[in-house]
Symmetry: C2
Subunit: 342 residues, 2 copies
């Protein structure tokens, strides 16, 4: 099967607000549908560095000074104009990148750290970027790598996936489609996140083997009972996901597996036959799409290829305007992945 061209794809849905209540369909089925409809397994990673944004994003900050969004962020007398302007530029940058490559992608992955460092205006920018992605019919993955004891894990679930009850009424969370989570605190720390994700038709991606060299320090430690820490986490992922299997053969508890260590993908696929693999590390970190075939065993949506700098920074390597270079690189990755896993 080859990549569906833009012209053959179904029309985009009308711009959608974050869901006002639980979604009915399971994450696995929603993702499988989305991957098939868009003919792409490419996830646009957005980790905006406010010192290295696309030039157009900065130019637009001046032009947007009188927009309604600006007024909401910049009330008279507020003391943080630099943070507000930087957050606006970050939101512009992400919106431009989304506009440039949305046709080639199935989702965006938002690196929450990059927004959080701009404080409250940064969090507002995060919500705005998630909304931009939805308007382009992209799924939204919050790359937050959260993990905490049960009551605090529930609070993170509310922040990202559902809503928070308050004495004034419920406060909607970010409403993302999936969240990356850290399993170090064990099964009872993930349970509230799994429960909320499942109720809302969202998914989780549990860190199993990350893409950085230091991942080996703890994740690859050999256990007295055999296997590694990563293997044990993989078992936990399979257990947590068992009751969240959709009709497309994918569960709502996926795994983050660095594309930089493809040798173990096959074994991981055997341990987690129904988990969606979120695969960062292609490009700047050295991973290659060609090595990721094992991820796609359960179908085209079995693997999601997350690329950040490789797409958004394509012009720094090959020249050209940022948007055009990003589009070309995203198209190249989409076709490459679809040949292997489509």
């Amino acid at each position: 099967m080859t990549a569906t061209s833009g012209a053959e794809k179904p029309p985009l849905r009308a711009p959608a607000a974050p869901p006002a209540g639980p979604r009915v369909r399971s994450f696995g089925d929603r993702l499988a549908h989305q991957v098939a409809a868009r003919g792409s397994q490419v996830v646009l990673g957005l980790d905006p560095d406010p010192a290295r944004l696309w030039p157009r994003a900065i130019e637009l900050v001046a032009g947007a000074a009188e927009s309604p969004a600006s007024a909401a962020w910049d009330p008279p007398g507020t003391a943080a104009p630099i943070a507000v302007r930087a957050a606006r530029a970050v939101a512009n940058h992400c919106a431009l990148a989304i506009e440039a490559v949305a046709e080639q992608c199935v989702a965006v992955k938002l690196q929450v750290a990059c927004f959080e460092r701009l404080g409250a205006p940064g969090w507002a920018a995060l919500a705005e970027v998630a909304q931009r992605a939805r308007e382009h019919d992209l799924l939204v993955i919050a790359d937050a790598k959260r993990g905490d004891i049960d009551v605090s894990a529930s609070a993170y679930a509310e922040a990202f996936l559902s809503e928070t009850p308050t004495v004034f009424g419920p406060v909607a969370g970010l409403g993302v489609d999936a969240l990356t989570v850290n399993p170090l605190l064990g099964g009872d720390s993930l349970a509230p996140l799994v429960r909320t994700a499942r109720n809302w038709g969202s998914g989780l991606f549990v860190l199993v083997r990350t893409s950085n060299p230091g991942a080996a320090d703890l994740q690859e430690l050999a256990l007295a009972g055999g296997g590694s820490v990563s293997d044990r986490i993989a078992r936990l992922v399979a257990e947590l996901g068992a009751s969240g299997l959709g009709s497309a053969g994918l569960t709502d508890v996926g795994a983050v597996l660095g594309a930089t260590a493809p040798a173990r993908l096959q074994a991981m696929r055997e341990r987690m036959p129904h988990a969606v693999f979120l695969l960062p590390g292609v490009g700047a970190q050295g991973g290659r799409v060609e090595d990721l075939a094992a991820a796609f065993a359960p179908g085209p949506a079995g693997g999601l290829i997350a690329v950040s700098r490789g797409i958004v920074g394509a012009h720094e390597r090959g020249g050209g305007d940022p948007a055009g270079a990003a589009r070309d690189e995203a198209a190249r990755l989409r076709e490459l992945a679809w040949r292997i896993g489509g």
Copy 2:
């Protein structure tokens, strides 16, 4: 040595803004000074649930409608009045709790999840609460449990400890004195956080053995080479902290060790002789101050006893007004801890 009474303590410093640049003194020395000056190792944990706030915090929301802080949060035409009101109530609740127990404590520990679930207004409340704590001369620990690959770890370091360079100028982070971090991604994921913390005179608390039952799932796995995952993390903590040792004998890389598993404290102290132990889990989770003596081997600041619901929810168990009950419980814990580790 007995607890210093409020009357004997040095006067509070003038209200302090977050530091505008790197601090000179090491975290270990700053903490040792602060513990000695205040005669307390008690950390007020604030994990506000906006459905269960002190009643006075909610009453104050109406009264504060015309305050400058309110105007900054609630510009005309903004679309999130519930989130804004809930965030105000959360900030009020935390300010009241800080005011009630500051004299008995050395620091506050802010559970970031509880603020993040209220979006941008929640993040503004987090910054406001940190500022309230500073005004009461309390150190501020952000309990965020962050962990990510190097470039994203640097972004979290900027968000919590330092500042973010942008094309518009630097954006100040939250400016906390210490941050809890998750080591699952290994040494290279912690290195940027250690570097920034050290440059700014701040500290880290690395999750070594958490207070929840599920902590055993991964942290206590036995390794083929001997010891457990927690033991290996403890070694990493000792290595990372070795070059950050202050003159008081404490480093700037501490450890989170649940007070619910005191049996291993002695062994952990041997592995990390100079690390500050942040000890959650006393009270609601079942830990007892009496069992924590091993933490204080390097001196009174070797252990910090973090109590959240045990203090803020004291009135739910023993009756009385929330502030008075919290003050009494904090005073009791302070004296108990000081007898053991002062």
